[in-house]
Amino acid sequence: MTEAPERYVGGGVPRKEDPALVTGRATWTDNIKLPGMLHLSMLRSPYAHAKITSIDVSEAKNQPGVVTVLTGDDLAPEYERNPQDNPAAVTGYGLSLHERPHGGAQVTETADNTDGQPVDEKTRTFVAWIVHDELKIPTHWPVARDEVNFAGDIVAVVVATDRYKAQDALEFIEVDYEPLDVVTDLEAALEEGSPLVHEDLGTNEAYTWDLDNGDVEDAFSRADVTVKERYLQPRLIPNAIETRGVVANPEPTNGGFTVYTSTQVPHILRAVLSSYCGFPEQTLRVVAPDVGGGFGSKLNVYAEEVVALVLARKLGVPVKWVEDRSENYVATIHGRGQIQDIEVAATSEGKILGMRVKLLADMGAYLHLNTPGIPLLGAFMYPGVYTFPAYSFECTGVFTNKTPTDAYRGAGRPEAAYAVERIMEALARETGLDPAEVRRRNFYEPFDEPTDTPAGIQYDSMNMQPALDRVLELADYEGLREEQRRRRENNDPVQLGIGFSTYTEICGLAPSQVLSALGAGGAGWEMAKVQMLASGKVEVITGTTPHGQGHVTSWSQIAADALGVDVDDVEVLHGDTAMAPYGRDTYGSRSLPVGGVAVHMAAQKVVEKAKKIAAHMLEAAEGDIEFEGGKFSVAGSPEQNVSMQDVSGAAYLANNLPEGMEPVLSEECFFDPPNFTFPFGAHICVTEVDTETGFVRIRDYFGVDDCGPIVNPTIVDGQLHGGIAQGIAQALYEEAVYDEDGNLTTGSMVDYLIPGAPELPNYTLDRTVTPSPSNVMGVKGVGEAGTIGSPPAVINSIVDALSLYGITHVDMPASPWKVWQAIQDAQGRDAGTRDADRSGRPSQAPTSADTEGGSTS
């Protein structure tokens, strides 16, 4: 047995996940091959909006290797073959999804209802976050039936003996479409007379949700200074490098099914598939094998998962579907896509009095699992790290004929952080204060207990000043300003920009009651089970589902420290509902502050029980037993001791346990935290902007982040690197662009610019440590922090560089063209190329002239 270990938490333990990954031995969904397995291929609509007038699959069915071809009508009876088996499945978001009221509410005349009888107001949908009683919920068939609503909607499914043959047969399906008018623009979609994505809903407005706290009108009437700006959040495409894929396999032993799928949420998926397809939940097993990135895009329940499962049931054989990258661009959810109007009232000293925020949020064509809720994760975060008395927020969700949106890394909070951190710059300009100073004047006094915020929630802890001071020092702020002055004086064609972001975010989802109040049902807890095996080794079972975050390593560290065992004696099992029937999975930077803490608490329960057994073994009183370094000893006589392994052996053999005690050391914990966690930080982005070409180079990126005590610094830094990189990608490179017919014109990795190694900088990081009162470890989530903090730092930096031209705003992504055009516009030159470049841009993206500086009043 191994020696008493050092403390692991806080150390950069090398990742246990790596050996399989660096040697090519991981199990991705596409690596799963089962005997007799058939392959699916999806025919997708080329139209963004059309009636399907006919589908002829007869020729496709006769192609070599084709087993069958099914349309939406063929599949409709398959989804819910035995609903009586599952009359009211609880999905963790409330009752079964197909019991949702139809959002159209008052459908009085449809083809099925010519006699004016009330129609069945239940509808088929994937949405689970009912943000509002009046939420309009469109019918969402996994395979379209009468109408397609975005380019990429599935219209038919080929089942064949291999993937090439399945793909070949798609060309032989004949579909007649009657094209309908398309709407892609958020503002146009709300205008009277706009084409309607869903005619039966009578509107493109999915919902309007608002929040008021304090007297905003009064704040604005008292203000010396008001600033008002409009910002655009481009639609983004998550682009996990592993696309989605699913294998559904019949299990003859119990008549059930196993679904292997590249998902972040096997537990949610199990509940939802059970509900959606009428499967008894106990016969459905969902496995997330190795998952190649998610970023929110695999936090969902997708049509292809439903189709694979019901076809495995119908055909009685395993079926597999793997997404092509071109499919991934249209068929996997997108993120962001908002128009933000934000207004701040302040004193002449830069002290904020109030804030108004009004959003339009692009839902796309349907509501996916969390679509309407995503902007509301931001609703509470627009006030950011600043305290002031009055805040109002309103968000309108809008249907468009585009791929549905949902969670993408940060989900609502990057949007909020961007808007507030951009308008702080406007406030700095308007008040003549340094951007660092105007922030400082509005910070909270440090606190480490829950504290009220302008949005009416409570932050857990915050201490901004040290983070800001440290990042100023790291970056040599004064030196940078000096270099900037020099370059300006010398008319250097390459100008220096210094951009700030002081951010916080809401993560660690989280308290069940709060999630419920927000319409997301509840079930924000997480499960962990810690068990000592016969050999004295340890198994940790977690309900979290890592896909790159290193939970196996971090949870091993937590358990090893709590139990006093070697980190290599711990195995962490995850991602399989047969192993962990309970779990709430991985998203919203929740895994450590909820799931990791649950591991710690379960391990503590093991120690508590072991202590009783140790006392029995040592013939001492339990109160005299001390536990340190994996050994239980009698206080005052350390030579009288037993190891954790000795105790676990005794507990296993169970031949000499205290009276009435159950055998073995195996304890579970379900942790439902009292609050979210709120990591925070201060970032500085240093850019070099070539004023002759508009090219922006990020020279340095400095970040000081506070996510509480660190379990594994190597992993935490890695999360920050990747998060910052994705934020930079949003700020400089990425945008899903649609033409007016609803075609995605950036539908490949050639057209959608994912940054590579040459485009990204090194990251200079440091941290402060403010423990969270939300859990016993004091830890906070970190998975999204970088993505939330970085976009405003980048844009603020570019605008700072260009401020010598009087430029006050450049929209994301700040392409060389946009930057160069802004310079031309500012100098009153007509470059004459604007239309050429902007063709195909969504009309909600105004030209730089429209947004120059936002409008400052």
Partner: protein, 161 residues
Amino acid sequence: MRRIQMTVDGRSHVAEVEPRLLLVHHLRENLGIGGVHVGCNTTSCGACTVHLDGESVKSCTVLAVQADGHEVTTVQGIRENGLWHPMQQAFHEAHGLQCGYCTPGMIMASISLLKEKPEATEEEIREGLEGNLCRCTGYENIVKAVQMAQPHMSGQPAPTS
């Protein structure tokens, strides 16, 4: 169907394939090499990078028949004397991977890069890996991994494994 022969990770394989079959699918589906990944099918992401006669290629844009008579090396065939290749070791030690899906391609591209430019600077490493996308790491630790492997790339096995 076409009869082809290729040596993959040191073993000779003969197969009958359709002329249109991509090398990546031949490796994955016919030869069961799950360590070669498909990320995009359009030569953009590099997850499928392997060595063809010692040079890195993206196996999603090579036809299996084009590899007829040639030697293919994948991430599953680069161990040296039973130990990890120095580049595998370096990716592990530098935390140059998170989800790990781009990693086999990234490792193969990095080995090829250092073979061509053993003394590559940071900038040259970044440029050299331009064709391999990673969505998790932000690249800094990948670059560090390649730099860490540099002194060990003379055919010597990694210091530890």
